[in-house]
């Protein structure tokens, strides 16, 4: 039910509406819940509404932490 997917904003019509794209599918969605949405932003989409923007720097840092966790252990001994 809380299913929501990351989509890319490709057009901002006004502070309430934008067009997002995911895997070639474009859709008119509401951005009423998120401030300052810009073209190129990634937003989490749920029941036709953007809930929040995704932060690419934080995503990169999380992936680095995940890689680090695995590197700290020698596969041969684990």
């Amino acid at each position: 039910m809380c299913l929501a997917i990351p989509t890319r904003v490709i057009e901002v019509h006004n502070e309430f509406e934008a067009i997002v794209e995911l895997a070639g599918v474009r859709k008119l969605v509401s951005i009423a819940l998120v401030e300052n949405v810009q073209v190129g932003d990634f937003v989490i989409l749920h029941v036709g509404h953007a809930l929040t923007k995704l932060d690419p720097d934080e995503a990169r840092k999380t992936l680095e932490l995940m890689a680090e966790a695995g590197l700290a252990v020698d596969p041969a001994t684990a």
Binding site: M1, G48, T62, A67, A78
Partner: protein, 375 residues
């Protein structure tokens, strides 16, 4: 898909699994509850239990809004569609949930009820605009993730003076359910459910932030790690929980920093406060009556409140006698402990709510896990 594929990387998952194996102490047991159905689904779909040491166990929580919706609320929706002749708009998840008298919304539709599956609350508004001579009711269920979109619909209905639109509000609150589980006799006194920490919600937390969970960490001394719904997010959260338990720490940590802040989405929170207030009591399937655990529509929007508009009175209704959904939702039983599981109760013919939504513990286990655990 960006922000999805990279969080499903198998090599990274193996690395985190190695770290969990290395850091989980062999002499102790770790039991973590994933609150959300989204996590339950990811754990089953990606076979995460196979990557964990045997002493690290995941317990499914009640965070699937379809699963915790009591029969009495679905009966109200069916009543509106069949007896009151409204166009009932609902998310697809609720259509197959068993209700009283052998009905479900889908069967009520087959009997002539005008029940329409929608994707967004905006669809319900459009149906109301297109059918000015009909009453249109949005059957609004869901946790904090789904509540702000309903609030936007109420504001739009008010702005447009959309007189034939109303909302049957069944929105529920995550922190109240977590507190209820922690206060339950099974966890507190009987020791039936050992709980060493929680994986906190992903999308709920984008709205409410990480701050509301700080109470549980402090008051109940349980670590909470907020995690995204991708498999690597879940693996990393389990590693973070193991580390907290090993260090005897109990704080709120955020693995899902790409989308969740401590404060959450203030704009969405303000809209929700404007439209809704707390209900004194609300019945949850499996948990029973939980105080201050759900929302109702404020007086200002009373004319858009289906309960007031149609003078609806809630009548509790019992679950199927043999159904173990209640115990499963409290973490006391697992799907395979239920005598109905996989025999009379399957995703095609669900008897209990946990078999309906793909996020339900029973449906997730039936779809992805049942052959593994019987092997």
């Amino acid at each position: 898909m960006k922000f999805v594929d990279e969080f499903r990387d198998g090599a990274l998952a193996q690395g985190i699994a190695r770290a969990i194996h290395a850091e989980a102490k062999p002499h102790r047991r770790y039991a973590f509850m994933e609150f959300c159905g989204g996590h339950t689904h990811a754990i089953a779909r990606y076979g995460i239990p196979d990557l964990l040491p045997t002493n690290v166990r995941m317990i499914h929580g009640p965070g699937c809004p379809v699963c915790v919706l009591p029969i009495g609320r679905i009966d109200l929706a069916i009543h509106l569609a069949i007896k009151r002749g409204v166009i009932l708009c609902t998310y697809g998840d609720t259509l197959r949930v068993p209700a009283s008298d052998g009905l479900s919304l889908l069967r009520a539709k087959a009997r002539g009820g005008d029940i329409r599956m929608i994707y967004s609350p905006e669809d319900a508004l459009r149906i109301a605009r297109d059918n000015p001579g009909r009453e249109v009711v949005l059957f609004a269920i869901g946790f904090e993730t789904t509540t702000p979109p309903t609030a936007v619909a109420l504001m739009n209905a008010e702005r447009e003076d959309l007189g034939n639109f109303s909302v049957l509000c069944c929105h529920v609150l995550t922190p109240a359910a977590i507190a209820h589980i922690l206060d339950s006799p099974e966890v507190r006194n009987l020791g039936l459910v050992a709980l060493d920490g929680f994986i906190g919600p992903a999308h709920v937390s984008t709205i409410i932030g990480s701050q509301p969970y700080e109470f549980f960490a402090e008051e109940y001394r349980k670590p909470v790690v907020i995690a995204g719904f991708e498999p690597l997010d879940v693996m990393q959260a389990i590693l973070m929980l193991v580390r907290q338990v090993n260090a005897c720490r109990f704080s709120v940590e955020n693995e899902f920093t790409r989308a969740v802040t401590r404060e959450g989405n203030r704009r969405a929170q303000a809209l929700v406060v404007e439209c809704f207030e707390l209900r004194k009591h609300f019945e949850w399937r499996g948990l029973g009556e939980v105080s201050y655990s759900a929302l109702k529509i404020r007086e200002r929007f009373a004319r858009f409140d289906a309960e007031a508009r149609f003078d609806l009175a809630y009548q509790p209704a019992p679950d199927h006698k043999a159904c173990a959904c209640g115990a499963i939702l409290r973490g006391v039983k697992q799907p395979i402990d239920c005598t109905l599981f996989g025999t009379v109760c399957t995703p095609d013919t669900p008897m209990g709510s946990c078999m309906v939504s793909s996020e339900g513990a029973c449906a997730a286990h039936y779809t992805y896990g049942r052959h593994r655990s019987t092997a």
